[in-house]
């Protein structure tokens, strides 16, 4: 029987980790992720898991140990944020390229400098080309659910890629919410036993991992990663369907909220989607046809599916907690990619980008409302007033 508990996002993920009972966890403290590994250490100390918890001396070593452990055929997890992820960088790519199904809880936080511990998405956006699967979570429940599904996605033989499960630093990671925690056995049954195809501990069949790979084969190995990403799009949906059936949820590649008959929509990931839903309800009460699209899967980027969900609209705003500095109009990564997807799929809808919430700057419902009102005007005039807006930055 499942039960409802009041948990923070970090506690929810730690609970998922306890239920999954990974073989190895290697992690290093960093706000706002820290309470995940603290909680998990308690599970280790109390003998509730069989995990070897490797208390590394840095995030670089955390990911390095994860890579070693995953090559050994262990089920492996880690957690980090911002600077920690940045320190891992080199090995983040290696984990994906070596095709190791590591699962990471990434509690989104602004990258330095200046140093800042609060939420934005500059950390995850930097890893978007690294070969990791990236899932976003609106709240603690989704972080918990995504984390459980991530294990199945990562370990699927057609995928074998690491997965990062994102949640917003402090907002989700430290906010207490009502979370439905499933029965331990049901979670265990859902994730199943991991049966790795290869292991460096297979003494009788010695394998070489991580050789020097020149121009004659490196490219082929990269092509394989493309294939794995393509397969991942299918596997993510299959795993979600099974999860939905079993735990009575509605996961897919994204969530569409009052979008079907909408004229304008906002696209936004993670916790802000929750706030935006309330704004949608409020504007709908005024009779305005507004909706929301909340991507869950960012890597692989479900371009066609997103375009199909948005193609009937008259204006689309993308809201993102990150800037791709020096990109076209210094826009946000999510906007750039979605705009490209729309255009390349032949869908010409006015689109605007709203950067917000950097370094944990609050995003208020009335600001989201202003985005909707901009879009409603655009829907009428067909004109985008400003391609990129930096919401609530002081002049």
């Amino acid at each position: 029987m499942s039960k409802f508990e009041a948990l923070t996002g970090n506690d929810a993920v730690a609970t998922a980790m306890r239920q999954i009972n990974p073989d190895v966890v290697a992690a290093y403290p960093i706000t706002p992720q820290t309470s995940t590994v603290q909680k998990f250490s308690e599970f280790v100390a109390d003998g509730l898991v069989d995990t070897e918890f490797v208390t590394v001396e840095s995030e670089h070593s955390a990911m390095s140990a994860c890579v070693g452990a995953a090559a050994a055929g262990a089920r492996v997890m880690t957690a980090t944020s911002a600077n920690g992820l940045a320190l891992m960088w080199e090995i983040v790519y290696i984990a994906a390229s070596n095709r190791l199904p590591i699962v990471m809880s990434l509690v989104n936080r602004a990258l330095s400098a200046p140093i800042n511990i609060h939420c934005d998405h500059s950390d995850v956006m930097g890893m978007r080309d690294s070969g990791w699967i990236i899932l976003f979570s609106e709240n603690a429940q989704e972080a918990y659910d995504n984390f459980i599904q991530a294990v199945r996605i990562a370990e699927h033989p057609d995928v074998l890629l690491p997965v990062a499960v994102c949640q917003d630093g402090f907002i989700t990671s430290h906010g207490m919410e009502r979370v439905e925690i499933y029965d331990d056995d049901e979670v265990k049954a859902f994730v199943g036993e991991y049966r790795p195809q290869w292991s460096i501990l297979d003494i009788d069949h010695p394998k070489t991992y991580g050789p020097l790979d020149f121009y004659d084969y490196y490219y082929e190995h990269k092509r394989q990663q493309v294939e794995a990403m393509e397969n991942a799009l299918r596997v993510i949906q299959e795993v979600a369907e099974e999860f939905n059936r079993k735990f009575n949820r509605t996961y897919g590649l994204f969530e569409a909220y009052r979008l079907d008959d909408a004229e304008v929509a906002v696209v936004v990931v993670n916790s802000t989607a929750g706030t935006a839903k309330a704004v949608v309800d409020q504007l709908r009460a005024e009779g305005l046809r507004v909706g929301l699209l909340k991507p869950r899967v960012f890597r692989p980027f479900p371009a066609k599916e997103l375009v199909d969900a948005l193609r009937h609209l008259k204006a689309v705003a993308v809201m993102d907690r990150a800037i791709s500095f020096g990109s076209m109009n210094n826009a946000s990564p999510l906007f750039l990619e979605l705009a490209a997807a729309m255009t390349l799929h032949g869908v010409q809808i006015p689109m605007a980008d709203y950067v917000f919430g950097l370094g944990g700057r609050d995003i208020l419902p009335r600001e989201i409302e202003s985005v909707y009102r901009d879009m409603l005007r655009t829907a009428e005039t067909g004109q985008v007033e400003r391609m990129v807006t930096y919401l609530s930055v002081r002049e």
């Binding site: 073989d23 190895v24 290697a26 069989d50 995990t51 070897e52 490797v54 208390t55 590394v56 001396e57 840095s58 670089h60 070593s61 955390a62 390095s64 140990a65 994860c66 890579v67 070693g68 452990a69 995953a70 090559a71 050994a72 055929g73 262990a74 492996v76 080199e90 090995i91 290696i94 292991s199 460096i200 501990l201 297979d202 003494i203 010695p206 394998k207 070489t208 991992y209 991580g210 050789p211 020097l212 790979d213 020149f214 004659d216 084969y217």
Partner: protein
Amino acid sequence: MATKLALKELIKQPMRLTPGHRLCAGCGASIVVRQVLMAIDDPVVVTNATGCLEVATTIYPYTAWNVPWMHNAFENAASTISGIEAAYRALVRQGKIPERNVKFIAFGGDGGTYDIGLQALSGAVERGHQFLYICYDNGAYMNTGIQRSSATPMGAHTTTSPAGKKIPGKQQFRKDLTAIMAAHGIPYVAQAAPSHWRDLMKKVRKAVDCGGPAFINILSSCNRGWRHATDETIDITQLAVDTCYWPLYEVEDGEWRLTYKPKEKKPVEEWLKRQGRFRHLFRPENRHIIDELQAEVDRRWERLLRLCGEA
């Protein structure tokens, strides 16, 4: 019963590093690897930091390794092996794989160990993982073209400490990494050289059976960087030991012990003059560098003798 440390017996062991690797002719690195792995009868799992050894032994689709082997990156051979070792313990404990008495070995060059990988190594031994870290110290970043490292001897010419008109080679003494590792208080630390193969193999055996993390620093000639003929590898290694530039000793549970004392301590010059990287030191204006180096070698040797209760 462990295989006797006699060559007649050792030739019967399976070959763990095959020929067909692409290390330079006469490279000391493969000699070190062969001796280390030859000493261990149990199964081994190896990690290898980026560097000449890694690059030259695993050029895809070929591998010279007949044992499970992993390269992750330059600075993380120790953290990678700690992950593998942790996985091994977790999987054995849960009965998911059989206990095989596996020995975990990490190889890193001096760059990957003294410099960029020191933090990962320090962390891994502090955590107490059961593994043996072997630094094959050839005294420079050879793989990228002979740049100085903190293991490069003072006075040596490298491509980033060139013997110029004003600055005649590297300005600093070698970092004493072996002593740094001993200061971690781990069960076994040693310094060895392939010229003294039996001593080296005994140390490897003690290291893998010490029940905790172990570190051995092994001098490894690079004829390209040191600039000597390819057939002088062992001879010059022997000279490093006999001049006490590279003393052979071990620190077992905190007890320092000299494992080889040269009958006659040779002047360090004897070692220097055989290598092109020191050629400029023999110009009259650079004589003082040889003297300084000698003084430092003497100072460290005397200290070692005191630590080993030999002074």
